[in-house]
Symmetry: C2
Subunit: 202 residues, 2 copies
């Protein structure tokens, strides 16, 4: 019987999600696990938890911008964020859920990775129709079909369901992980996740 | 010429400060560094940064209590926090600065460590006169002298200066570190601090 998957919640506009997305599959695979991704809107979970993005605060905002870049360098990743960070990501997330439902987890994971790399390493304007179309083409998807998905009530509802499920499960930020039911918040919980995978609960 | 010290800001009511306080000296020493501690009041830096404690939020509060305990276990530390967390810590912090000025860094560091361990491993009510007196006796200090320090305008002013200096230097939370001028926030920046100490800027 396969081991339970690691659940991984992310937002296409979350720099720490970009970083975590780069290591989560390899870390999971080393311990016989797979990853089940969940695209959510941080704005919605922040509202439920009465939070604001770290960059919205005096002192913490300046530090956070520095820490995003340093944390990417720490993992050896390129980091070139969008000028108008944070960006709205509901369209990219709706496409994620459409791919997950119609083409499966692997296709959705490829979209997640390409989108996060686009936003944080290539300044891709994923919140604009041109940016979304460019990512669609690079992923072998029909730009018009992707555009239609974004406006389709079915995929709007699917994203809303994902946000609601996340909040009901205690998710308030991203990246957020659940491993055998245990919640881990933040790219910086990697070491704890690795120990849990290797040794079980601690 | 000795290498620059690591500056380390903490609050006696910060669980992640308790954890970081346990590793910071050894990590520093391995790289020929010393640690310069700064007792501050998180309530004051939170106000400057428009922040609230993590336990004050829906969803995040429940997670944080779980993460405090798990992060302590991850480092192999006992964890038995006070029932009425968070506690006011201005008196413990004033005594810290009195010791630092009159007996030096090492005495202040011993007070910091004993206080943090008391609060987070032994449920010591450090915010109450009896708890403070008990810690004073255990540290070979005269309880009446310690009580007098807490009410002395000189040490009130010294703590206020420490809070003001912290905020002026961009400190908004605890534990907070500065290493060669580079700011690191959180117990979970240990890996980045260790790399910086080993290799320099990255």
């Amino acid at each position: 019987m396969p081991l339970p998957a690691i659940d991984f919640w992310f937002d296409f506009s979350s720099p720490y999600s970009y970083i975590a997305n780069e290591w989560v599959d390899a870390v999971a695979a080393r311990h016989g696990r797979t990853v089940r991704r969940h695209a959510i809107l941080l704005g919605v979970t922040f509202q439920a938890a009465e939070l604001r993005p770290p960059v919205a605060f005096p002192l913490k905002g300046v530090y956070s911008l520095r820490d995003f870049a340093r944390s990417a360098r720490f993992e050896g990743l390129p980091y070139l964020p969008p000028a108008d960070f944070p960006i709205p990501t509901q369209n990219a997330a709706r496409v994620f859920w459409w791919l997950q439902a119609t083409q499966g987890e692997a296709a959705a994971a490829r979209w997640a990775t390409a989108g996060l790399r686009g936003v944080f390493a290539q300044q891709l304007p994923l919140h604009q129709p041109a940016g979304l179309a460019s990512l669609a083409i690079a992923q072998g998807l029909e730009p018009d079909a992707v555009q239609a998905v974004c406006a389709d009530p079915q995929w709007k509802a699917r994203l809303k369901q994902a946000n609601d499920d996340a909040i009901a499960g205690g998710v308030f930020g991203a990246p957020f992980f659940k491993l055998d039911g245990e919640p881990f918040w933040g790219n910086d919980r990697r070491a704890q996740i690795e120990r849990w995978l290797a040794q079980g609960p601690f």
